[in-house]
Each structure stands twice: as C-alpha cells, then as structure tokens.
C-alpha cells in the first residue's frame, strides 16, 4: 500500500509539472493511477494499454519526411533504427510507380547541386534519373524596365549544372523507393496525429522490474502519439515533417514568427516547340515571373502577383493566359535589355571575366500550350522560434516556410533532413539517447543560422522587386549590371545558390 502512495505522489508531480498536456491533470491522474494499480494486480492488463514502441516517429510523409527516412536507412549507424511514418496519404503504403511520359505536375522543385549530392548519397537520384527531369546550366535574370540583365553560367564556378528541376511527385516516389527497398524497420500508419504527450523525466521507484512501455512513457523516456484512427504509438524521438501548418509544432508548443506577403503565385506547366535549357526570371511591376525547364519541351511557370490579378489570370481562357505569359517573358510591360558598352567602363572591376559576362541577352522560347491546371497559393514567410524541444525535432516547412523565389524552399528541407540524420548517427556513435535535448540542439545549431540567412536573402529580394518606383528601378538595374559583370560577386552568388554555406557578398 505504501508503494502505491509513492507511485501516486510521483505521478502527481510528473503530470502536473508538464506544460504540453492536453487534458486536465485530475483526469490524467485518475486514469494513470488506476492503470498503475491494475498493473500491480494483473499483468495482462498492462499489454492492452501499450502501443508499439519506435525509435523515431516521422510525422508527415512528404518529400522531406521520406528523405529523412531514406537518409537514416542509408547510414550504417542508423539503418537499424525502428522508424514509424505517420501520414494519411494512402500512396505511402504501396509502391508508387509513375508511368513514363506521364502528364507533368505543376508542382516542381529546383534542386541545387548540394541537394543532388544528398539525394545521390541516400540512393534516390538513380530513380529520379529514370523519370523526367531537367538540368539547367544557364540562368538569365532581368527587369521589365530593360535597364539591366544578369546571366549566370555553371562554368563560371567550374560546375556542370546550376541545378535541376524535378516534379515533386517524382522526388517523393524516388525517395519512397529507397525506403521501401532498404532494410530499415519501418511501419507506415495511414492516419493523422491527434495528440502528443510528453512527461518530464522522473525516476519512479520501480526498482528491479523491467519497465513496460507505459512505464517508460511515465518516466519521460518516450513520447506518446495518439492517431486519428485510434492507434497509439510511442517513440523516443518525434520528427515534425508535416508542413507549414505543422501539428507536431503546435502540440510541442513551439511558436513561430513571420508574415504574409500581399501576393499570390500562380504555378502551372507549359509547353514549347523546342527544348528549354535555361532558367529564366523577369521582374515585373507586380512581382517576378519564372520559367523553369522540366524536360520533354515542358517548362514550369511560377508567376507572382497581387491576389486580384492572380484570381483574374487563373480564370482567363487558355489562349489569353498563354499570350499574357509570352508578353510577361518578352517585351510586355517594357523593352528588352540591350547588350551595352558599359562592359568597357567596368573592365577594371571584372578581373578575369566570367564566361557568362560575354553572353548577350536572349529572349526565352515561346510558350505554345498550357499543359496543366493553374494552381494559386498565397506567399508567406514563417520561422519556428525553436527547431527542437525534448524528444521533438522539426524539419522542412514545419520549421521554416519561405517564398518559392529561386526554388530554394525544398532544398532547405533536404539540408535539414541530412543534418538531423547526421546528428542522430553521431549521437548513436557516442551512446546517446536519441531523444536527448543536447543531441537535438546540435541539429538546430547547424541548420537555424543557415536557414535564417537564406530566408533573409529571399525576403530581401522579394521586397526589393515588389515595388515599382523609378529611382528604385534604376538602382535595381544597376545591381543587375553589377551582378552580370563583376566576377567575384557572380561566383559568390552562384556558389551560394548552389547550396554551399557561405553567404553571398562576403568573403
């Protein structure tokens, strides 16, 4: 009887001390005390209360969540882990075959060379290469005023490509193939996350007994996840890879900062009569329009504008929309830039001229057909105040949501997955409990500064080019010219955009 009193005392201390509990303390105390008491008298009752126990529960089976699972599966120190994947997407449970020559999906990602390297490491790139994808080695950025343009070439930094545009469903199915073919112990739960409970660490007086799953949860060694289908799952570490409206982040009590832009983006797939090998981006009065090659004479359009204009363009008939796109990419809104003689006046700055500095302005290939539905979504920037808390880590959009400008968002997520799986591997090498806060803070210390820097750059670009103001236009054009001709500056920009860690404009 005195033993029960000790248990009850410890339970009250533990339960009332937690800040993230979703139920009233009295309810939990009643429930758990009775559970513990019944454990004393009937061992069978214990098993009905336990759910399966995993090392890691990945909530969200999108590109970044599956990338994390594939990365863990590819490392000797982590491939033995028991991983749960929680997502109500039914495709996760079966082999996801995309037939060749499928109609292109308008949702694409521009992956950097750094991301390509990561995807090769986890074994996914060989699957991507079997599907439609498009490398590009040139990029042209210019302004509707016609006062300046910038061209980039991968050869400027002795690389083969600047990046590769891949459809999101190709990325996801390729990574899923890696996970499915690996030896990773994985369980897919086709459900949503309803609740998540964590208790602070405590030492109950259960000396000499083998702890049950409930005991481990009660001692703060496991997180408990309650799913929408009624299942209960326990894990040492919960990874929130469930997007910008992350349920894991919400349940962990992690706050965000950020703001919405008063702009929407229209994305769609278009077709040309000839193959497109360059990434194009033109800054218009209301925002940029980007044309990204995706292979097979298809390109992806990302067009940013104010919400009303976006709604209008989404609804206009196809021929008018195509004409509007071609105008936006050619001489609509203003003249095309000319290759000027200002190169001579800047020769003292260029040093060894980059290859692209000699390139003339080009107009993008004509769009002849719309090949997908037009999708519209609002732009926003959001950043979690913390990426980790006890037994919780956030990756991808649940930690940071960025403007799709430059197509960098998913690359940040892949870098998160890479860094987190590396931190977990290092922790296992040193005999650490993988849910330990100190271990997870290493992941945050690596990723947060890099993500904040990229977000600041993208936000700055967004603000700089979302205003139509004469003097600012001239300043913007001068910046383009500088970026075009000054070699060190251009090389820094290309290296940074390729995913290397150093900031642009600083040595």
């Amino acid at each position: 009887m005195s033993k029960d009193r000790v248990l009850a005392r410890n339970l009250r201390t533990s339960v009332c001390g937690t800040r993230i509990l979703q139920r009233t303390c009295s309810t939990v105390v009643t429930h758990d005390v009775s559970t513990s008491c019944s454990n004393e008298s009937n061992a069978l009752n214990n098993s009905t209360d336990d759910g399966p126990q995993h090392d890691i529960a990945i909530v969200g089976g999108g590109m970044v969540g599956i990338a994390l699972a594939a990365s863990l599966a590819s490392k000797p120190l982590t491939k033995h882990l028991n991983v749960a994947i929680i997502d109500n997407n039914p495709l996760l449970g079966r082999r996801n075959i995309i037939e060749k020559g499928h109609q292109p999906d308008p949702r694409v990602s521009t992956v950097t060379p750094a991301t390509i390297s990561f995807l090769k490491d986890i074994g996914a790139w060989k699957y991507i290469e079997q599907q439609r994808h498009a490398y590009f080695d040139k990029m042209q950025v210019w302004d509707y005023t016609g006062l300046g343009y910038t061209r980039y070439n991968a050869n400027d930094v002795h690389q083969d490509v600047l990046g590769c545009v891949v459809e999101n469903k190709v990325l996801q199915s390729s990574q899923l193939s890696c996970v499915q073919e690996s030896d990773l112990q994985k369980t897919v739960y086709p459900a949503r996350l309803n609740a998540m409970d964590m208790l602070p660490s405590s030492s109950l007086t259960g000396l000499g007994e083998v702890p049950s799953t409930t005991d481990l949860f009660m001692r703060g060694r496991l997180a408990k996840l309650e799913l929408s289908d009624g299942n209960r799952v326990y894990a040492k570490l919960v990874v929130g890879a469930d997007g910008s409206k992350s349920r894991v982040r919400e349940l962990a009590g992690i706050k965000t900062t950020g703001w919405n832009y008063s702009q929407n983006a229209i994305i769609c797939t278009v077709e040309h009569t000839a193959e497109n090998y360059t990434a194009w981006q033109r800054f218009l009065p209301n925002g940029p329009i980007a044309l990204l090659p995706i292979g097979d004479k298809f390109s992806n359009i990302v067009w940013t504008m104010d919400p009303k204009e976006a709604s209008d363009r989404k609804l206009m008939n196809e021929d008018d929309f195509i004409k509007a796109v071609n105008d936006a990419l050619d001489s609509g809104y203003g003249p095309n830039p000319e290759t000027t003689s200002s190169r001579d006046s800047l020769s003292w700055l260029t040093g060894d001229a980059t290859i692209s500095a000699k390139e003339r302005f080009e107009t993008p290939p004509k769009v002849v057909k719309l090949s997908s539905e037009r999708m519209m979504f609002p732009l926003s920037l959001r950043h979690a105040k913390d990426y980790v808390s006890k037994r919780v880590a956030l990756v991808g959009d649940s930690a940071h949501t960025v403007h799709p400008l430059a197509g960098q968002g998913v690359n940040l997520g892949f870098a998160d997955a890479c860094a987190l799986s590396k931190a977990i591997a290092e922790g296992i090498a040193l005999g650490t409990d993988i849910g330990e806060a100190n271990l997870l803070k290493r992941y945050e210390a690596e990723r947060k500064p890099a993500n904040i820097a990229m977000m600041a750059v993208l936000d700055g670009i967004q603000k700089m080019y979302s205003l139509d103001f004469g003097p600012l236009n001239a300043l913007r054009a001068a910046a383009f010219h500088g970026a075009h001709y000054i070699s060190p500056l251009k090389k820094r920009i290309i290296s940074y955009a390729s995913g290397e860690q150093s900031l642009p404009l600083f040595s």
Binding site: S201, L204, T205, L207, G208, R221, I428
Partner: protein, 322 residues
C-alpha cells in the same frame, strides 16, 4: 578552463569518500557511518509482498544477478529513495549543476570509442561495436559514462566509493531497458582486484587526481585488466597553466570554487602517468588533450595536453599471468 575546474570540483566532492577508504587507517565510526546507507531489495520485497508472491523470486534473482550488497540490519527506506530519485534527475539534467560533465562527455566518449574500436578490432561504423566485451567504469558517479558504454553494446560494471552515487546511477539506468543491465557496485578498485575480477577494458576518468596513492591505484586498475586488455584514464596535468586556470583563476580570482578544491601537487603529469602505468604492466599507447571552446561550449580533442588529458594503454602479458 573554468568548465574543467567545475568538472573536477564535482568529481572531487563526490569522490571524497574514496580518499578516506584508500587511507591505511579508517576510524571505526566512519565505517559505521558508511554502513548506514546500505539497503536491501530482498528486505524491501519481503515487506511489500506475501512470501508466496512470484515477484519475490524475480526481485531476489535480480538482486543476486547484480551483486547488490545485502544487510540484514536495514531495509529499503522509501524517503531516502525518493531523495536519491530527485538527485538522480539533477545529475542527468544537462543544464543543471553537472553541466560541465555533460559538455565534456561527447568528446571523451569519442576518444574512447575510436581507440577501443581499434584496440579490439571492432567495426567503428557499428551501432554496438562493443558487444561481447566487459567494461568497468571506476568512479562512475551518476553513470554518465557507463550508460553510453552500455548503449554501445558493452557489458558494463559501474563502481563508485560513494554509496549515494551508486543508488543514483542504478535508479537512472533502470529507466531504460538498454542500460538497466548495468551492474553498479559501491566498492573500490582495490577490493574488486582482490576478488580477482577481470575486464576487457578498465576506465577511470577524473579520478586519479583524488586518490591518495596513484601508484597503488594504477596497480589495481591493471590487476582488473585482462592481458592485452585496455586501460583508460583521464585527469589534469600538473603544469603552470593548469595551476593558473584551475587554482589561481577559479579559486582565488574569480572565486567560483572554494579555496582548496584542488591540490596542485596531486595533479599527475603525462610522463608520471606513463611511468606509473608502465610499472603496473600497462604500456601507454596514446595520449590526447581536451581543450574547451567557450564560444561553442564544447570540448575538443587536441594535441595540447597541458591541462586536461586522457591516456589509453594496453595491459602487458607478464610472466605472472601465464
């Protein structure tokens, strides 16, 4: 360097009983005092369950398996246990008073893992490279080193001369099935050596600077090591830099530690360490320094052994062992 001072201060306080137990004469009153902390799970189980309850067998079996000390004069004191429970949480709180130990732990574990993987020809990319090996952690404190070693697959015995530390370590280790197999003993290296126990690897971190007779202590460590086994020690060097940072700096200028926490003359130089171990039949193979980076709050392995260092050696096969 100040973090290292706190590390060693904590170790020193917790290991003060060792110095007493190592001295040749121990007053009877101290022996009696130490005995007051002993407990018996058998007595506790007898008090809690009827004699026919099947759990009694389980508890007694576990107690026997873990070689826990027994005494018919005392029983499990639940208030004491609750107090130890609170202290255990403090030990293991990475931002609590033992933060310097937590910060140092990954670096010394990295050294131990790499050197012992090479020593035993184990795969360093394995999650449990030390499976099948017996390790002993002399001066285990709350188990900060013993538990990671168990997660790496080793069969671990943790030893501390302070009974409270052993209870704390046992409580925490029992919280995880992977670490609950650790055998924790309240005893000394000398007594275990007298019992003839042998281990593949003997580790003693931040201990030797607190023992009364380092040479005798190292002989005990060597006696516990199987021929061709590994011995690992870490401590503070007796240099002017160590004097400046640990004694003058922390104790007299910044007053972060009470005066007298460290005795500079008790520090052991790497040369003395090698000589002592050589005489104890251990050949030192590798010595690395620990350097604290105050910006990152982390310790790094370094060639600089002028303050904190760790030494790894191999037990020789002597004629006496044949």
């Amino acid at each position: 360097m100040l973090a290292s001072v706190r590390v060693n201060q904590l170790q020193r306080l917790l290991l003060s009983a060792r110095r007493l137990s190592s001295s040749p004469i121990i007053p009877p009153s101290r022996l009696l005092h130490q005995r007051l902390f002993s407990t018996s799970d058998t007595d506790a189980s007898a008090a809690s369950f009827s004699s026919s309850h099947p759990k009694i067998q389980t508890l007694e079996g576990k107690a026997s398996n873990k070689s826990r000390s027994t005494s018919s004069t005392t029983s499990l004191n639940e208030d004491e246990l609750a107090k130890f429970s609170a202290i255990a949480d403090t030990w293991w709180h990475s931002e609590g008073p033992f933060k310097p130990l937590h910060q140092m732990n990954p670096t010394r574990l990295a050294f131990i893992r790499s050197t012992l993987c090479r020593h035993f020809s184990k795969d360093p990319s394995s999650a449990k490279p030390f499976e099948g090996l017996k390790f002993i952690d002399i001066g285990c404190g709350g188990g900060l080193l013993s538990e990671p070693l168990a997660r790496m697959g080793a069969t671990v015995t943790g030893v501390d001369a302070v009974d409270k530390n052993v209870k704390i370590a046992r409580l925490h280790a029992d919280m995880d099935p992977v670490t609950s197999t650790i055998e924790y003993l309240c005893t000394t290296a000398e007594k275990l050596a007298d019992e003839g126990r042998k281990f593949d690897a003997v580790l003693s971190l931040e201990v030797i600077e607190h023992v009364a007779n380092p040479a005798e202590f190292c002989k005990s460590l060597s006696a516990l090591t199987i021929p061709n086994g590994a011995t690992v020690l870490s401590t503070i060097n007796r240099t002017m830099r160590a004097y400046a940072s640990t004694i003058v700096g922390a104790e007299y200028i910044l007053r972060w530690l009470p005066k007298g926490t460290h005795q500079w003359s008790s520090f052991v130089t790497p040369e003395e360490m090698s000589m002592i171990l050589q005489r104890a039949s251990v050949d030192v193979k590798e010595i690395a320094g620990f350097v604290y980076n105050p910006i990152t709050g982390r310790w790094l392995l370094s060639d600089d052994i002028s303050v904190n260092y760790i030494a790894y050696g191999t037990k020789r096969k002597d004629l006496g062992d044949i």
